[in-house]
Symmetry: C2
Subunit: 216 residues, 2 copies
């Protein structure tokens, strides 16, 4: 990823909170020279850095787990809030008109090597942990043990666990850090007031803080 | 992408509206055996099918335009609304408890070959068209001609245009089409009423219709 220094996000808490709020990762792999992408909810195990792990599962029918070479790096992309930024929001526009539009976004790229998990006890642990994490976000209360044990066994038999051992992480917060404070305030103000979508509200908070993912 | 038949979205209007609402594409390329991804707003020229084109631009400093082999297929991913689906929302849960959580999402994968545009007049056209399209969404009014011509010339010199000639398109609407009507209604109801985020509202509308992207 093209990553100019002013957009390079190193704050681990910001990266981790993006993953929690946007857990649907895009797993990108290579197979016989072609690029493949699958969309999979992931759970972070350990730190979002080399040595940590992303845990998930896929349908047994999904060829991705058969096709990946163990030594090859795969990429998981997590995409946060995004917003088009019109120059009309820059106070500096009124002064010199030397402004152009841009597009803001926050993303985390996690590189690592994939391995596959067939062991039923470990798969059970994966779906239990994933469910707990997701239900917490939903303030809901379903748990794996609410379903009949023989049904869960059948379900587990239809999936394989996957684990990405993280080798490196890149994160880009392209959130107007290259504009002066007045322009940043103009953007944040417009995103939070003139328009009302949730994505805009979040980007507004990110533009103000330069980190986080706008959830606070 | 793993694409079971019931999740295969063929409705061209649905695909096109996803691109318009979520224009920030993830351009995935291969370079010297490694996967690279860059996030770029794209404009569709023609149909979202083989023969159509995705148009955008990148900073001249971004190596992506130098690294891509013309004959190699690249992938652009557009990601729409997403939502965790708790089994608590399925009426069928009360009957047999044979239910597990899932994760819903709508995505479009556009494969094609990249070419690079250096011609200044064409680059001017690209930024003009992209700006017009984005400003329309924002109900805003800035246009490229609002900036001083010599400033725009300087800006154009700092970018290169890119064009993806589409070879194939895959779209996955994983929106509970494999559940019965009662369960689908339960999900749509919960997403639209119990919770209030914009992403949830959109997914609610998609679950009800099985197509579109929840904007109507």
């Amino acid at each position: 990823m093209y990553l100019p220094k002013h957009f390079d996000q190193q704050d681990l808490d910001s990266l981790t909170s993006l993953l929690k709020a946007y857990p649907l990762g895009t797993l990108v792999t290579q197979h016989e020279g072609a690029i493949e992408a699958n969309h999979i909810p992931f759970l972070l195990d350990g730190n979002l850095a080399a040595g940590g792990k992303l845990i998930g599962h896929v349908a047994k029918g999904n060829p991705v787990w058969k096709n990946v070479a163990p030594a090859q790096e795969s990429l998981v992309i997590f995409q946060g809030p995004e917003a088009y930024i019109t120059p009309n929001w820059y106070p500096s526009k009124q002064v010199h008109h030397q402004v152009v539009p841009t597009y803001n976004y926050a993303v985390v790229h996690v590189y690592g090597t994939l391995s596959v998990i067939h062991d039923e006890a470990t798969k059970h642990l994966i779906v239990t942990d994933l469910t707990r994490s997701m239900e917490k976000t939903r303030k809901s209360t379903w748990q794996v043990s609410d379903a009949p044990a023989d049904f869960i066994e059948k379900m587990l038999n239809a999936i394989v666990g996957i684990e990405l051992s993280i080798t490196r992480v890149q994160a880009k917060w392209k959130v107007s850090q290259n504009r002066d404070l007045a322009d940043r305030n103009g953007i944040a103000q417009a995103l939070s007031e003139q328009l009302s979508s949730e994505r805009d509200q979040r980007m507004s908070a990110i533009v103000r803080s330069g980190k986080g993912i706008g959830e606070d």
